[in-house]
């Protein structure tokens, strides 16, 4: 039976977590705020009651937090589901879609599901030129997917570059700006894209509660675009796609922005600390603008051995072989205590 074992197309991070330092899935190891935890506990008794049909309370809170029109918002079970709704709504078999080689795996998995033709930009240098990327698009392109910043390569584009890029693209082509990691960017010249939707109706922003908001386990994300795109997406939305508890948790998380700010600060500090103290000549570290760093090894076998060594020391990290980057390991930035222990283990690693 084993050879027939149902197998998801996606390869995720490690699933172990009890007793482990978990640095494999870019989760926020600070966990949800006490306000969120209290709200969840207070609402457990209502688990028998269906969620609000389209998550109005949460959409209103997102609208308040980010000054958006709540009617231009759509919720998904993670931004994964928003991406799936985008494919389902706007593509038909044979349509051309564009993304980078080292991008979120779901862009390509959905392209296959929906029988679209992917055109793939080779971002082997990780940070690439949006001018070059734009050249891949034509009037035939249905959707362009671009994550900013990108996981796992950490590539990042600033506001002016993004605007220039959008202007180069045919207005009939949808541009999906995946901003799952945007909260980690605090620079003024960075833009999560929300402010650009008014000017560019072909832009769709996707957002996640799985990263800084520390709700990866609850599957909740959202999309924001022009009214005409959102109305189309609603035609495909399942009535109750997001759990009641998830909506409550996300609403409370948004209200606790002080906790979010502290968590962003923690990430910055702990990442700096990690980069400064990780000094093993076998490991080249590459900083990213998000909540992870990349570790580069001279050979796939060494990367593999490193991941196993960390695992025996009860630390999980993500080997990027499934992303086509076998010499690379992605390490999420956890708490300071976690990083101190991890650095000690990493510095001890030998072949």
């Amino acid at each position: 039976m084993t050879k027939n074992k149902p197998k998801n197309n996606y390869q995720g991070g490690a699933e172990d977590f009890k007793g482990f330092i978990r640095l494999s899935s870019n989760e926020n190891n600070d966990g949800p705020s006490s306000r969120v935890k209290t709200a969840l506990k207070n609402n457990v008794n209502f688990s028998n009651i269906y969620p609000e049909l389209d998550g109005e309370t949460l959409r209103n809170q997102i609208s308040k937090t980010y000054s958006l029109n709540s009617e231009q918002l759509i919720l998904g079970a993670g931004s994964d589901e928003v991406l799936q709704m985008i494919y389902a709504t706007f593509t038909k078999p044979g349509d051309e879609v564009i993304f980078t080689k080292y991008a979120f795996a779901m862009y390509a998995i959905y392209a296959k599901n929906f029988k679209c033709k992917p055109r793939i930009f080779n971002d082997s240098k990780f940070q690439f030129s949006l001018n070059e990327f734009a050249k891949l698009a034509s009037s035939k392109t249905k959707i362009i997917f671009l994550a900013n910043p990108n996981n796992p390569t950490g590539s990042i584009f600033y506001k002016d570059e993004i605007i220039n890029f959008i202007k180069k693209i045919n207005k009939k082509t949808l541009i999906v700006l995946d901003s799952a990691y945007c909260e980690y960017l605090q620079e003024k010249n960075y833009d999560d894209g929300l402010s650009l939707v008014k000017k560019f109706p072909n832009l769709i922003i996707t957002r996640s509660f799985s990263k800084i908001y520390a709700l990866g386990g609850l599957r909740i994300g959202w999309g924001y675009s022009s009214m005409q795109n959102i109305l189309k997406l609603y035609q495909y939305k399942k009535p109750f796609n997001v759990s009641r508890l998830s909506c409550i948790a996300a609403t409370e998380a948004l209200k606790d922005q002080r906790w979010i700010s502290r968590s962003i600060k923690n990430n910055q500090n702990n990442k700096k600390y990690t980069a400064n103290n990780l000094n093993n000549s076998l490991i080249k570290t590459i900083d990213t603008t998000a909540n992870f760093i990349l570790l580069k090894f001279s050979h796939e076998k060494i990367a593999n051995k490193f991941v196993k060594f960390l695992y025996t020391n009860k630390i999980t990290v993500r080997h990027l072989a499934s992303y086509g980057l076998p010499k690379y390991v992605r390490m999420t930035i956890g708490s300071l205590t976690e990083m101190k222990k991890t650095i000690k283990v990493c510095n001890r690693f030998n072949v």
Copy 2:
């Protein structure tokens, strides 16, 4: 802006619940068991951690509870999502699908989403003949959807009738047996369909944790079929479609079968009590085999007035106008206390 307001194709029950007796969405008003509530509270702190990729722990528990091969199981965010995956996996635009006129609204909504051609059986008598239903199918039929028992009509088919029906259908046609309400059926000659999958590889069973298991708010359901169908469905499944807390709740709910049995008993008793004591000459009551009864009125306007009257008395029920049954109201069976109060209000209703 109101005219452009995003609007889901689905019309759900009332969303009020605090201070209301909620009899509008066929939820289990006993709520989840204390075992489930404790497990949820104990796991709130881990909301930052992604769920298991394909819900192995929950699949193993389902497999144990119902003696099934866990590899033939697939989880969804409610059986809604399993139905969506079935459409996405097995249909292409123009394909013929069959269901009854007064069936779960999502069969038709998905048919539209996936550009399938629905052929609709008129079950205006509510309880209909499967022999007649089978005549609608041909070698061109891709999928037949049949709920047993059916919501909202309460139609019910016993094991022999179901087997005869399946035998009449072309082996290349998929038969989706939606068993969301099956737990309410305790008769030996009823079958939820799980035992038939071995013999009929074209059969897919869908199940829900939203009804007797009292987890409607957490969006969790499952599908069971031959390995070949399940392998195909996995190609379309989102990696993390179901929340961590939902998987934990469902696993614990399955372990607490004593609580489930008590809840089934409560439903039987409270339904009998309701049918016996509801005696308003304006209302004709129709018993069903599930956790609701139907109330028939002589005119749509009276049905409408009744729903509003109950609402002002803080009771929500479901007007079936959106199901094309404007003279009917569906009333979920709640707790004995709730039903006693509801009966008093109903008996007071006048035009």
